[in-house]
Structures are given as C-alpha cells and as structure tokens.
C-alpha cells in the first residue's frame, strides 16, 4: 500500500506524521519516500544511512549553428517559449524548457541535439531496517516532477510505502499522489488550514484517492476544520494537541513517536483504519 501524506498548507506537520507513521510500523515492511524534493526534511528526523545516489537530468536542446538555417520551426512547436529565433541567432531560455524533446523532433535539418542537464539527485538508503529514499532539486532549477518520478520508481511495492508530499496543490503534489492508494491529509484547525485543506481534498478527489485527516495542534484555532470534515464525510483519524513539549522535540529533530512512544499504538491503529478504507 502507498500512503501519501499531503496538506495543501505548509507547516501543518506532514513530516511529523509521515515519519512517525513510518517508525510505528514493522520496520522491515516499511519504506519512506520524501517527495518534497524542494525542501526535504524527513532525513533530519531519521538520519538515514545513504547507500546510493543517482543524478536526475532532463534533456535540453543544443543547436548546431553550422546546420541551422534559422527556419524557426523549433520556436513554432515549443509550447513554453523556451527557444526563439531572433535575427541570425537561435536563443534558448533554459528556465522555461520542460525537456519534452519537441524541438529536436521538429527540426527539419536535424540541427538540434539533446544534452542532459542535471536538475538534482535521488538518494536512497536505510534507517535501521526501514527503507528510505529522498530527492533534492538543485536550487535555481524550477521543476521537481522529474525527480519525483525517479524517486517513485524506487518504491518497493511489497512494503507499506509512505510518501511525504510537498505543500500546495500543483504539479509536484499531483506527481507525488499519482499511483498512491491513500491520501492522508494533515491540517491545523485555523482558517488557513481549512482553506488549503479544501484545495488538497479537491486534488485527492481528482485522483480518486480515499482520504483521511489528521488535525495537528487540534486545540488551537476554531472548529471550522471539524465541521468541514463532518460535512464532507472525511474521517478524522487522529488529533494531535498543541503541546510545547511536542514543538520542542520537533525543533530539535526528535520524531514525535520517539519523544512520546505512546503515539506508536495510535499510528498503528490509524494505519489499520486506512487499510480498511482502501479495501472498501
């Protein structure tokens, strides 16, 4: 089973939940994939031993000017305005290129070659018996999805795979959720938390994933999130109270279930709930 831990709003506690869930299950049957390749944090709490590493590259065009007759077909087919013919020159704007290969296929003179451009890495290893992998996008490179795709290819299907997803609702989130069996949404009971939870629910619905909600810092804020979950029939699987001791443990990189081992049972129970929902 693949469980994606998402939220919409940032800073609601996705990583706390993903890491604690992973640490609560039989360790040789669980794998954690940190899909927040922009700012991955799970490793800070798990201190994994990294055993392997691969670079992730996208292919970008390189124009052989001796062959190019400036016909402009490449610019015509590029949907991202990443290549343009201006005067006697072909200009390339790397930050706009999606690496689709369209320009190369379209060039009637075969004047375009593709060269790999490294956008980040995927690293994998273990935390005791738990399998672990994460990705890192290079600062300044805009596109996380190719790294997330490579990371997901490392999923060990026989295990419970827990994916820690980035905040938001756009491409990196969709890429992380695609192919999962369950979407666990972590929110906080505030107007910001509620607003962004609703958006995350829409994404999970588009992907037809069963959902459950964890309310973090459950005793601050207002009752909007509880009401919304009730109206939408979203099960609230756990409420974690605001507790300065939890915040302090988190700030130093101690996982919730290590600081408060009683939570392990609750996380295991939550996992069974999710499995039941998936079976239905």
């Amino acid at each position: 089973m693949k469980i994606a831990v998402a939220s919409g709003k940032g800073g609601t506690g996705k990583t706390i939940v993903a890491v604690s869930l992973a640490l609560s299950l039989p360790q040789n049957q669980v794998q954690l994939l940190d899909c927040d390749v922009e700012v991955p944090n799970a490793h800070l709490f798990l201190n994994p031993t990294i055993q392997g590493r691969e670079e992730v590259a996208i292919l970008r065009p390189s124009v052989d000017e001796s062959r190019c007759d400036l016909c402009g077909r490449c610019a015509e087919v590029c949907q991202f305005n990443a290549i343009a013919v201006v005067g006697e020159k072909v200009l390339f704007f790397p930050e706009l290129c999606h690496g689709c290969g369209g320009c190369k296929l379209a060039c009637p003179l075969q004047a375009i070659e593709e060269v790999p451009h490294v956008i980040g890495v995927v690293e994998w290893g273990s935390v005791g018996e738990m399998a672990f992998a994460h990705g890192l996008l290079n600062p300044g490179d805009p596109m996380p999805p190719p790294i997330i795709r490579r990371l997901k290819a490392r999923a060990q299907d026989r295990k419970t795979v827990i994916l820690d997803v980035s905040p938001g609702t756009s491409c990196p989130v969709v890429e992380s959720l695609r192919g999962s069996n369950y979407c666990l949404l972590v929110t906080e009971p505030t107007p910001f938390g509620l607003h962004d939870l609703k958006l995350a629910v829409e994404v999970a619905r588009e992907l037809k994933l069963p959902m459950g909600v964890v309310i973090n810092r459950a005793d601050i804020g207002d009752s909007g999130v509880e009401r919304y979950c009730q109206e939408e029939g979203l099960p609230i699987l756990m409420r974690i109270p605001f507790d300065r001791r939890i915040a302090e443990a988190y700030s130093g990189g101690t996982p919730l279930v290590e600081a408060f081992p009683d939570y392990k049972l609750r996380f295991r129970g939550m996992c069974r709930e999710m499995e039941k929902q998936v079976e239905r």
Binding site: V39, C100, P139, P142, F192
Partner: protein, 290 residues
C-alpha cells in the same frame, strides 16, 4: 519602485502573518499573494474583488478516439508518462500532460487536438489597506510560475498607475518554479524562518535559490523563543554571512486568534508578536529606503 518578497523555504513559518501585518503598516503599496496554489492573504485582508480574469496556463492534448489508429507514436514520444494504452487506442491522462504538444505534432493519423483550458483565475481587489493582486490556480493544475509572473506584472502596472512606490509579495513555500517566478525581479527578500532543524535546513535552500538570482536577503526568526539556542545559532550564522537579522518574533497565541478573526495580528492587538512585527517592519523599511 521597490519590490519586497517574503519567502521561507519551509511552509508554515509565518510568511502570511507577516505579509498581512505589513499590509497594515506600510503606506502606498500594492500587496501581492504569490502563493497561487494555496492563497491565504485574502483570508485576512477582507478583499472586495474589482476585477477577475481567467488564466490559461498551457495546452492539453486530447486524443480523438474515432481517429486514433493505435499506432502508438504518442506513447513513444511522451516524456511525461501521460499517454496510456486503452482497450482500443490510446488515452491521455490530463493530470500528467504538460501540454508540450509533441504527440500532437508526431501523431501520424492527426488524431490529437490541443485545448487550452482555464487553469485558474487572477484578481485585482480593493482592501482597507490598498490594492491586492491575488490568484487561485485550480487544484491539480500546473504552470503556477506563469500565474505568479502575471500577478506580479499586474501589481507593477497597478503600482505605476496609482503612484505606489512599493510592492509587497507574500511568496509560496519551497524553492521550485513559483518561488523562482516570485524571486525574479525582486529588489529585496525577507526570509522567515523558525528555530527548528527543518526551518534551518530549508532556509539554507531558500538562501541558495535567491542568491542564484542575485536578490539580497534579510532574515527574521519567528517563534524564536520555542528554541532560543537554535535561534542564537541562526543569528550567529547570519552575522558570519552578512545577512542582516531584522527581527525576532515570539510565539504568541494572538497570532492564531487574529487569523481566526480574519485579521492581521498588528490590527488585532498590541501583544508581543504585534510589537515585534512593528519593529520588524521599521527595520525592513530601512533597507528598502536605503
């Protein structure tokens, strides 16, 4: 005209809390919410929408089943795993399609057409604190960077037309495409961090990203008293790298209370967080003016 962007790397460190308070404190400015995935500034600035426009972020390929000869060229050329083999012919997963149109150009049976669906909206609103330019990308859509670029352009035009000399941009979390679009063209970035191992780690990645685009940075530590030791180490590290530390905001329940009331914390009460944000604004302004 100066453009201040508020960023953090890590989500939930307090960008919007600070942006909302700056909206209250700064004069003659245009506010922008560049977190187009999950825009929250509108929840605390009481906007009245004056103008609403559609955003079309990119194309979407659609296979016409009647024309598809199941040749399979589309699946061969697609680099985004968006083409799926169906029972009779191929299908495109709209959530995976990046709109590159390669399949459209390559299909030997001309069975693929391109559409440009509405993928979000952007708005110009009036608030008690001046104009706000904001947007909502549809959930599960892409090209948030393009939408960020549009709201920033609109804000600039609006600022010119109304004689405002400052644009304050509430940025998205992370370091990817919407953050890069937010950072491009900014004069100054205020980074908001928290004294946690994750806050420090993500701050580092945010600093590398804005350095990549040559934008100078200021730093503020939110909830600094949750881990004073880590806060001191952040301060020391910043001093060594000549990044001005312009504010320390204490943990204060009034921040959440204000949010529940739909207000900025500085307009809600005069508690410790409000006072700290006022000082933060005065310091930030010195750098904007200087």
């Amino acid at each position: 005209m100066r453009e201040l962007v508020i960023l953090s790397g890590k989500g939930g460190t307090g960008k919007t809390t600070i942006a909302a308070s700056f909206a209250h404190l700064a004069e003659r400015k245009v506010m922008v919410d560049a977190d187009v995935d999950a825009a929250n500034l509108e929840l605390v600035l009481s906007p009245q929408v004056r103008e609403e426009r559609e955003f079309r972020g990119g194309k979407l390929a659609i296979i016409e089943p009647a024309l598809c000869t199941a040749y399979g060229r589309c699946a061969e050329v697609c680099r985004f795993q968006a083409v799926q083999e169906g029972d009779d012919g191929y299908l495109i997963d709209p959530l995976a399609c990046e709109g590159c149109a390669v399949c459209y150009y390559e299909c030997p049976s001309e069975a693929i057409r391109l559409e440009e669906p509405v993928s979000g909206h952007w708005f110009i609103s009036d608030t008690p604190y001046g104009p706000l330019v904001h947007a909502q990308l549809r959930p599960a859509e892409e090209n948030s960077g393009k939408l960020v670029t549009i709201v920033k352009q609109q804000a600039r035009q609006l600022a010119l037309a109304q004689g405002c000399d400052l644009i304050i941009v509430d940025g998205p979390p992370g370091i990817g495409c919407p953050v890069i679009a937010t950072t491009a063209g900014a004069d100054l970035a205020l980074l908001v961090t928290e004294p946690t191992i994750a806050g420090v780690h993500d701050l580092e990645r945010a600093l590398s990203t804005i350095a990549h685009f040559g934008v100078p940075a200021l730093l503020c530590i939110n909830k600094y008293d949750l881990n004073p030791e880590t806060s001191r180490s952040i301060a020391k590290d910043c001093a060594a790298r000549n990044i001005p530390l312009v504010g320390h905001i204490p943990f204060d329940v009034a921040v959440t209370e204000a949010m529940v009331q739909g207000r900025s914390v500085v307009s809600y009460c005069r508690g410790p967080a409000s006072q700290a944000i006022e000082r933060l604004w005065r310091e930030t302004k010195r750098f904007l003016d200087g």
